[in-house]
Symmetry: C2
Subunit: 444 residues, 2 copies
Amino acid sequence: MAGLVPAIHVFYADYKQDVDARHKAGHDAGENVMSSAVSPLAPTNVPDMPEIAGVRLATAEAGIRYKNRTDVLLVLFEPGTTVAGVFTKSKCPSAPVEWCRANLKSGKARALVVNSGNANAFTGKNGRASTKLTADTTAKAVGCKAGEIFLASTGVIGEPLDASKFAPVMASLNERAQAGDFAAAAKAIMTTDTFPKVATATAKIGKAKVTINGIAKGAGMIAPDMATMLSFIFTDAAISAPALQALLKDGVTDTFNAVTIDGDTSTSDTLMMFATGKAKDCPKIARASDPHLKAFKKALQAVLADLSEQVARDGEGARKLVEIVVEGAASKASARKIAMSIANSPLVKTAIAGEDANWGRVVMAVGKAGEPADRDKLSIWFAGIRVAHKGMRDPSYDEAKVSAEMKKPEIFLKVALGMGKGRDRVLTCDLTKEYIAINGDYRS
Amino acid sequence: MAGLVPAIHVFYADYKQDVDARHKAGHDAGENVMSSAVSPLAPTNVPDMPEIAGVRLATAEAGIRYKNRTDVLLVLFEPGTTVAGVFTKSKCPSAPVEWCRANLKSGKARALVVNSGNANAFTGKNGRASTKLTADTTAKAVGCKAGEIFLASTGVIGEPLDASKFAPVMASLNERAQAGDFAAAAKAIMTTDTFPKVATATAKIGKAKVTINGIAKGAGMIAPDMATMLSFIFTDAAISAPALQALLKDGVTDTFNAVTIDGDTSTSDTLMMFATGKAKDCPKIARASDPHLKAFKKALQAVLADLSEQVARDGEGARKLVEIVVEGAASKASARKIAMSIANSPLVKTAIAGEDANWGRVVMAVGKAGEPADRDKLSIWFAGIRVAHKGMRDPSYDEAKVSAEMKKPEIFLKVALGMGKGRDRVLTCDLTKEYIAINGDYRS
């Protein structure tokens, strides 16, 4: 896909063989991919994840909900680590989201605890008590203040989270934590994900080489087993908390905020970034506008773009990754709204699942966005082939050629509005019967 | 469903037997209902449709797209008939929508021509030429001005509409037109609808008895065969065009504008109302605020509510009709936004398809609406059973009882926000694999 930075790679060694098998089986037979199988859109590059100075990780089986798999992650940070975060815009956020928001003000982090299996969302006073108990338990084991502990939970919502289950494993987690185990960390936070999501990049700040590692999870926005989007970024750069916050906020605009699976917003969406400052000879950066950050910003953008694309690639039931570019809009914001209207349209998504270059539905989605548009200036391309031009079907387009392109796993859809210079890009996936099966064919 | 006025009935005699069979087969076996079969949610009352003084109708096979079925409807109005209309908010409306908007200013109507099979949308200059040709052809046959002809088209979009196909049937349509044939009219405008949609009511204006008849079509908002929502209301009351427009605009707020199938907005949605003024002894009404209109307003509301509920009952792939009431919101507008957020959430809709009272997803949909809400004041009921209370699962609710209710074809979902006195209600349907099949499993 355009925009995917080639230098960024993905690690999911244990799943690689299964991916290859699915790629073949899924594409050959065209059958529904089971949600338990790896997405046919899973990336195929398998890089190693380097260590990050000042970051140690450990995972354990706390038995929150799942059996025979890790479900809790502890990440330890050296003193001096700064932290930034962006969270769900939901008016009904989870207890951990409220906890993190409140503690972000200090800008200091010593540990991150993430569990899967229970989201601790819509759990009322119990939810607040659970976050406090988790933070207290962790602070005691680590030897820091509870306010320096950050929390995220993903899993069923509305069920009380039994935070007492963390205590038996916390001391061991704290002792076993070691540098570099990001692959295991990405696995411990999975719910309906079909593959762990990891990305890495390096950059220079002055003469110092710094590393950025990221992990993520997410498949639907919220799902039976709660596919909340969670992502954590770690770096050994030395960046102040306010600068880190500005970098992160800027970074999500065209990455995580430009990805949609089903338009539904989790109560728990969380993206946090931690900077240990332990990279050798790294100058301390106070402001996001510091020119030393040029390469770092680019590398951060690449990690965020990679991880968020992986989220789209693991959309529930997805068989096709869809890149939507809207250009010629009145503004970038207008282009974003139109692109999201297309990306969230069930009729566009089902047409793509049916391998149909149905530009009529794209017109519909442009029209319903409510943004400036003129039917008679509109042009639409599928896979680079113009199918509609100036308000009419393009008389010269080759249906057979478009049909062949629509069978591919990656679909590039472009809309030109002819209204102005606004341009934007979003990623989504198709809407298949498997999405309905994952989200409808069960009784909780 | 609450809100359905019992005095209003539905006519679909030819389909009744099939409905009964589907009701039995679909509900017994739980299998997917094919889109060609009648929706299991189709109404079962079968009233006769009365004549409307000053209205004559005829249908014909113009061969626009379908074979062996009627696809064009001509409705003739006596001189003096007033007209009002509300249309899609799409920024890319169809040519007939633009035609009607432009000609509505005169407030006078002599004929309505509706075709199915081709929407004449996104057809550029050809589209404008087609509407003009259709209007000219009709005006010549009827003997009136082209500007007194109103048009609506539904069907595929982006294909030029060959309006020359209307000429051979227009003279015959004009000659054959007769009072009362509303059932045939409702059938001629169907696309992916599984049953024709008709409703009727009477009211007194002063001492005069007036009748309101309505027909509608619509299943998805826009679909392979283009399930645009079209509806036409006819009355023999004597109401000025401006008053009629005000009544119609007011009437749609809690009816057609409170129904959603998939959140997608057609380029062609059209609701028009025609008043012939031919009811015996009917006083002429100039203003919508005239107290004589009290009973008429109620009857109109009932017809609009009935027709719009039928649209939800015929939602593509629908197995369940879902009524969503939001109360305790900051305002009615806020309640509407939250209700629509719930109604359009793929995760809520798939949960209902799965017969799961998944209130966690309702919380998610409330949260993402962006309206004032407080998790800890939120209560949720399925089928009158409170499943969540004050931000937590209701500890007293009986899961078995809720599960039994969720198996029924009509689901009532209530949300209380505890923020204010705003209340609203919307109708939708569930999201099933059949929706994906109808919209995805084909190559156009």
